[in-house]
Symmetry: C2
Subunit: 617 residues, 2 copies
């Protein structure tokens, strides 16, 4: 008969029994999979047994209940423990537990939101805590709900700077709803961690970040219980550094090296040593009713720009974002301390309650955005396109989390000019296209920027908007709509000899080049490929059929950008229309934007020269 | 007449005059460029005046002198100050100073190694200190020289986690040759920093990392002098948190917001307020003679594998790296706490003095590698390919630094199996190709891995090797050489109807598919495209001309990988041979490797099916 363990269970022995059950089930799952991380699970058995039975408030039958606490396994490789907990709370059965790591099972090697009780994918260490900061920010700053965000961290992952971005930001904001439980089991994958069981230096750093800090024995259920009780009393974020033993409870692996990430050699003996299988059931406390708050709203009109008006698309981003904040109260904005360059500050001016200044910490910025969307918010996060590269692993993982994440990178390409190559995004199209399910947009004028940002708001998934530093003339009517996956043929005639394909700043160069070519008797079609991913293959193939040569022009490296996108479309067809790809090939320097475009051969003159070298008969 | 300031200059007023000169020249450079960051330069004038005149040991006539100290401007936007210093030491003249940010000038917007006294490009904040850790590691662990590494950091960039990876690592190792000077000027780009002038929390964290920490008034030259003197006495890394005022000395901008990153409105008035132009000359101390140390060497034979022998290319990486450590005493290795998975541990076993365990801190790992190559070492840095995405901004900047950096990413693609998508590198080819001047290699067997790693050792620049988790059969003879930019046509006949192009794990699937297709009466050519960048266009175009269809197969997303590389080559020609690109399109899950390859349609059966759907007449 199943024995229930609940918040009233204060008995040390019963909690120990529960912890042993979690160990046994972790060992069993890894044995069934013949892989996985049982020893990393065993160290945190008491930490989670006490959490789930006595502190967590969560309705496993209603994972979308806004009153639910959140639990993030920042040490995602302890998935056997998480799944053992899901079994103990009755969310899954033993059969599903033992489907661990099998094809088609929700019990993946590292947790993903395929499971309704998992908010985000973890498994790239150092990401869970920064994401938890975002969830906690939603609770404290937007929703004023009193859910709590419990995060189980590994000690090895404290070497990741992103963890300290999280400590810093949470301490600065004073996120009293955030609890970091650090499972200090002394051993990483290949050997001891830097500090092993010496939690003092880590505690000192966390205190320096403004956290309430405790150092405890993580196998002492009473100490764990007392630590959680104190953490809930704190109005600051609480860190609990819990000294534990990896593989605890099984002599063959307890505190031993070379026992990471593999099943136990003799699982049956280990299970016996742990006291055998048990069937304790955790009765998790129900969450309190959520109290939806209201945020002040300020109406903002849709921005529009007159034809010919010169405006920087980064400015239009700021204008449009401020507008979208009025259209959709779930829209929030984050920026990496460059809001006066990305123009995210225009959102801040209208909707200060929904703006998050993340300082120069791009990893934390993207992680916070991922955390905010866990709570149903629609985050737009911006910085220089070049510096989004800092958060690339977080964007990669956000795709595995099926996150709804809107990114804006400003100051792209050599056209930024004098600041030089360190500030120029020249790899952002390539890297953002290579994110699962992503959308990559690159507007050429203000009105298009407004329309595309609205499309991003409506699109669920990871989308990226690339904006330009300098002002460009308005080509499209105010209010014109642009679809994700579309394009615009901005100039065409029946006798077009060549097709010029640009986006953003290079579209304007294509138009100038088309004028010059016309003067030379060469009719040129011009396509605005503002949606780089997904791409409008139909329009490209039509142009390939109707013209004798094609030229792509991009303020980006040749690899993975607009040129290769088009090449991929053409190569898949039986067209023989040749494609010339103009892009930035040499390492750029500082200089005036026009000069840098010219040196890269991606200005109108460069395009004309490329067309003139192309046989058009 | 020029007045000289040297280590003997103890006069407070003279040092103040020098600081004012640096301010004036910063203002003048920004005025000449009509852009730049004079106020961020002015705050650190005393800090650098004292450093260059009284502490730095450097021969500006011989920047390659191994005895020279290193100075890294982690706050790279303070380039006007750096160039003002170069003028004050006599390395450049006033005319060159005033060419700041002009096209063709070495005085770039942010410092780059175009200047012989600049080791690395900075300007992406949070990178200078981690790179300085690498330079200091070379001094302390490899060279046992007593040069010092002085790093000027901004306070805003302390929000970057990478800075704390550096604090952590330097403190853990005890890098007594490293000094971090933090210019705490209170203001970031768009407003106040988190801590403004409250240096206490930052100091506490640095102490928690094991540093010798001082908090001073950064405009008090005597305090600065005393801080440097004490820093040199410490056998631990020394951090000096210096409270300063941004724009110090000019009332219009001093400690004012909205004065970041722009020239002063009235530079002439500012220069007068600062006391006018001066022509003080710093006499920098000469460096001590370097004492080249010797590291113990252990001979290791070139690894070789028998034809047909199954070996994981990640294992061959470890074997080859251990061998290269014997071939070339400048080879060093770094790993991100996964050396028993990447097999970098095989280098550690043979050359412990040249191995650097960087723990789970990929940004610090790549930065340390960049720092090590500043001192002429040849660093090979490894982790899972997926986690190299964590250091993408560092790799991007390393290209701007013209760094000699060799990277290895293991566990690529869905073929890793059960660990699931968080551990699978599926964007690494795209992102690493989109790095300026990079080389991207993807071997399919052990012997090829050995040869390519040797090619990487000889190649100067950024190169990346992609390795596979599982064992694959040896196809190539031991000792066979493979060139960067080459390919191998491993199967060909005169009547080939289709060309199959793979690399790494998919090459083996291509060979199996070719067998099956032959049995069905379709002759298939198979190309091993082991050098994805640069790519062997000639062989590809020959195959396009000689066969009726082409198929690329890659364990990677479709974007920016092998398929688009080939598409780019074909689209540039007038061939009409259609290309089918097989790649991972759905989000993968956990499961057995073979099953995941099949689900992605990139196994032999998927290739055969794709060919059968292709018209070959």
């Amino acid at each position: 008969m199943e024995q229930a363990i609940s918040a009233e269970t204060l008995d040390r022995e019963q909690l120990h029994e529960l912890a042993q059950q979690l160990r046994v089930d972790s060992v069993r799952a890894a044995a069934a999979a013949n892989s996985g991380h049982p020893t990393s699970s065993m160290s945190a058995a008491e930490l989670t047994a006490v959490l789930y039975s006595r502190y967590l408030r969560y309705d496993f039958a209603a994972p979308d209940n806004p009153g639910n606490d959140h639990v993030v396994f920042s040490k995602g490789h302890a998935s056997p423990l998480l799944y053992a907990l899901f079994k103990a709370v009755g969310a899954i059965d033993d059969e599903e537990l033992l489907s661990f790591r099998k094809f088609g099972s929700r019990m993946e090697g590292h947790p993903t939101p395929l499971l309704p009780w998992v908010d985000v994918a973890t498994g790239s260490l150092g990401q869970g805590l920064p994401i938890a900061v975002g969830i906690a920010l939603a609770g404290q700053k937007l929703e004023r709900d009193d859910f709590r965000v419990w995060t189980l961290c590994g000690d090895s992952e404290l070497a990741e700077g992103s963890m300290w971005e999280a400590f810093e930001h949470a301490g600065y904001i004073g996120l009293g709803n955030l609890i970091a439980i650090v499972d200090v089991n002394r051993l990483g994958q290949r050997g001891p961690t830097m500090h092993e069981w010496n939690t003092g230096p880590l505690a000192e750093r966390a205190r320096g970040c403004g956290w309430d800090v405790q150092e405890i024995d993580g196998h002492d259920v009473e100490a764990v219980d007392a630590a959680y009780a104190r953490a809930l009393q704190s109005d600051r974020p609480a860190a609990i550094f819990a000294r534990t033993k990896k593989g605890r409870g099984v002599a063959a692996v307890e505190d031993r090296e070379n026992a990471h990430g593999k099943p136990l050699t003799d699982p049956q003996e280990a299970i016996e040593e742990l006291g055998g299988e048990r069937s304790l059931r955790i009765e998790v406390q129900a969450p309190p009713a959520a109290q939806p708050g209201e945020l002040p709203q300020e109406p903002v009109e849709r921005p529009s720009y007159e034809l010919g008006e010169k405006v920087a698309t980064r400015g239009a981003y700021g204008d449009a974002l401020a507008w979208l904040g009025s259209v959709d109260e779930r829209v929030v904005a984050l920026d990496g301390e460059v809001g006066n360059s990305t123009y995210a500050e225009r959102f801040l001016a209208k909707h200060p309650d929904r703006f998050f200044e993340m300082y120069i910490a791009e990893q934390q910025m993207v992680a916070a955005a991922v955390g905010l969307q866990v709570r149903g918010w629609k985050p737009f996060a911006s910085t220089f396109g070049a510096f989004l590269s800092r958060a690339y692993d977080f964007i990669r993982m956000a795709a595995i989390s099926d996150a709804d994440l809107k990114l804006c990178g400003s100051h792209v390409g050599v056209s930024i000019g004098e600041d030089g190559p360190s500030q120029m995004a020249l790899e952002d199209i390539a890297s953002l296209r290579a994110v699962h399910g992503s959308v990559v947009l690159y507007p050429c004028d203000g009105n298009q920027t407004v329309a595309l940002l609205d499309a991003m708001r409506e699109h669920r998934g990871i989308s990226y908007l690339r904006t330009t530093r300098g002002a460009t003339p308005t080509l499209y009517e105010p209010g014109e709509s642009f679809e994700i996956g579309g394009s615009r043929t901005v100039r065409a005639s029946d006798d077009d000899a060549v097709t010029l394909i640009g986006a953003g700043i290079t579209l304007h160069e294509c138009l100038k080049a088309a004028d010059e070519l016309t003067a030379k008797g060469i009719a040129a079609r011009v396509i605005d490929l503002y949606s780089v991913k997904p791409v409008d293959a139909e329009t490209l193939l039509k142009a390939a059929a109707e013209t004798k040569a094609m030229v792509t022009v991009e303020d980006h490296w040749p690899e993975g950008g607009i040129g290769e996108t088009v090449a991929g479309v053409l190569a898949g067809s039986d067209t023989s229309t040749p494609l010339t790809r103009l892009a930035v090939t040499g390492k750029p320097s500082s200089g005036p934007p026009a000069e840098l475009l010219a040196v890269a051969g991606i200005d109108a003159a460069g395009i004309v020269a490329a067309v003139e070298q192309t046989p058009l008969d």
